[in-house]
């Protein structure tokens, strides 16, 4: 089967794996090429924080030897990938975008999802930039610098998994891993125009991923095609999604109210086109979205603050100033507030389940608009200019509270910076999201267009 027949390219993960498995390319040539590309081009984007050069090349050599012996190298044979700086990589210190943890001993094992991917032949080549301890939406890091949006380096990549999204958007690697507590996969994926998945809370193992707010944290992939995203997710999840449901059988609705305000007419029109293609005119309300966002905000602040409190007592000045003040304020939240937020979460869960008894996929914007400029990091909400770092999660945080799966879908649009949709499913219903996303890609309504070495 040719790559065109399989719907893959020489640059995407499944295309690389097909080439390596068939002996058309070696894993060593792929990995050394990616490392050279990062060294040549990433100075523009600052998406990479560390390159695992010797370990990656050694793993690639072993993989080529396995192929030479006739062994099965795995479904992701020779595919290079990057990890947000909070995933354990054996032999490396996990720093979570900070200098605070740099004195820790190196990780003894790969994070579970990294180990699963490497067992299927994928090769971790780099760690990727993030907001310190994942506390932010902009990937502006006092220690490691700001990550720039490959589609316009004057603009933010979004965060906190901004390095992961930017590395894929720049065409440096076909997929990368991120984490999402309040939108940290969905936001940078949308702003950089790549595919991203926040799996159902609790579905994919987090072992070996440095925590932020355990009640909300999930880990997930970002990729350059919906096919790659699915392949990577299935490996991370340890099982196949099986046959996807027929899109025509799915009940799709659009979220109105909170999710229809503050977005431009162009963005609204793009969502209109998606809904028309999906034959849906239904618009529904997510009840108490503002309070759901508030609850997610408060749980995150409280759990994050508590996690870091021992270090904040001892060496607060090592923290990124923006992170430090948020964590300190979170640590001081009264227990009554946290308990109220967790009680509200249960109330909200019941409402979400009611919605999904009548619908299969909900559609909402991921952000209010395209990536803000780095020198003017603000967005407009209800007519007020507010901090992008704190408010980009306007449409993602309410969904985080529910813990449901969300597939961040890059809209295909004729001009301007990327915009993204959230395809939201019932708990455990990732297959429905992949079905709809695949249809939108097939119809030309969603598309990731990574840069190439010439860009």
């Amino acid at each position: 089967m040719t790559q065109a027949q399989a719907g893959t390219t020489a640059r995407d993960a499944l295309g690389i794996a097909a080439d390596v498995r068939a002996g058309r390319r070696t894993a060593v040539s792929v990995v050394t090429g990616v490392i050279a590309d990062i060294e040549a081009r990433d100075t523009r984007y600052n998406s990479v924080t560390r390159i695992f050069g010797p370990a990656a090349v050694a793993r690639a050599e072993q993989l080529d030897q396995r192929i030479a012996r006739g062994e099965d190298p795995g479904v992701l044979a020779g595919v290079p990938f990057g990890v947000k700086d909070l995933f354990d990589i054996a032999g490396e210190v996990t720093t979570a975008g900070s200098i605070v943890l740099r004195g820790n001993p190196p990780a003894q094992h790969d994070a579970t999802v990294v180990a699963r991917l490497q067992a299927q032949g994928a090769i971790a080549v780099a760690s990727l930039n993030m907001d310190e301890f994942a506390y932010g939406f902009s990937t502006e890091n006092a220690h490691t610098g700001v990550t720039r949006n490959p589609h316009d380096p004057a603009c933010l990549a979004g965060g906190s998994s901004g390095g992961s999204a930017a590395a894929v958007a720049a065409g440096l690697m076909p997929f990368a891993l991120g984490s999402d507590t309040n939108g940290s996969i969905r936001l940078p994926a949308a702003l950089c125009g790549v595919w991203g998945l926040k799996p159902t809370f609790g579905r994919v193992p987090r072992d070996g991923a440095y925590p932020f707010a355990a009640s909300l944290d999930v880990v997930g992939p970002m990729a350059d095609s919906i096919g790659d995203l699915r392949a990577v997710f299935e490996v991370m999840d340890g099982r196949s999604l099986g046959t996807l449901p027929d899109v025509a059988s799915l009940r799709v609705a659009r979220l109105g109210g909170w999710f229809a305000r503050n977005i431009s007419a162009d963005f609204t029109a793009a969502i209109d086109a998606v809904m028309a293609h999906l034959n849906s005119t239904k618009v529904i309300e997510l009840p108490e979205a503002a309070r759901a966002r508030a609850a997610s905000f408060l749980i995150t602040a409280s759990e994050g603050g508590n996690l870091h409190l021992p270090r904040l007592r001892q060496r607060a000045m090592q923290y990124d100033p923006a992170t430090r003040s948020r964590l300190m304020a979170g640590a001081m939240l009264p227990s009554a507030t946290l308990v109220q937020a967790q009680r509200f979460r249960n109330w909200f869960r019941a409402r979400i389940h009611e919605l999904f008894s009548h619908h299969d996929v909900l559609v909402a914007p991921a952000t209010v608009g395209p990536a803000p400029r780095i020198d003017q990091p603000t967005i407009v909400v209800e007519g007020r200019e507010v901090s992008a770092r704190a408010n980009l999660g306007l449409f993602t945080q309410p969904i985080s509270l529910a813990g449901v799966p969300v597939l961040s879908t890059p809209l295909a649009h004729p001009s301007g910076l990327p915009l993204g949709l959230q395809l939201i499913g019932a708990p455990g219903a990732e297959a429905a999201l992949f079905a709809v996303a695949g249809e939108l890609q097939r119809a030309g309504l969603a598309r990731c267009t990574p840069l190439t070495t010439g860009d």
Binding site: A214, A290, M332, R343
Partner: protein, 77 residues
């Protein structure tokens, strides 16, 4: 179920900066209760963030939950 404070149009709460940390939210006192010393250089930012969180807490506390609504705990013995 909604309270009089129900307001889906509510924008993000505005941070209220109170230099010295003794205004809306008693930063110095609360920090002392948890063994935390807020460096003077950080006080304004911490106070602003505490006030922002208080705004979200106020929004949440304005919603009446039934007594039977339990916290969403993850612990399973």
């Amino acid at each position: 179920m909604s309270s009089p404070l129900h307001d889906e149009t509510a924008p993000p709460p505005s941070p209220v900066v109170t230099p010295g940390g003794d205004g809306v939210f008693p930063v110095v006192q609360v920090a002392r209760c948890i063994g935390l010393t807020v460096p003077p250089a950080c006080m304004n930012d911490v106070t602003a963030n505490a006030a922002l969180l208080q705004g979200y807490a106020d929004l949440l506390n304005g919603f009446a939950l039934p007594d039977t609504c339990e916290p969403a705990g993850e612990y399973v013995p």
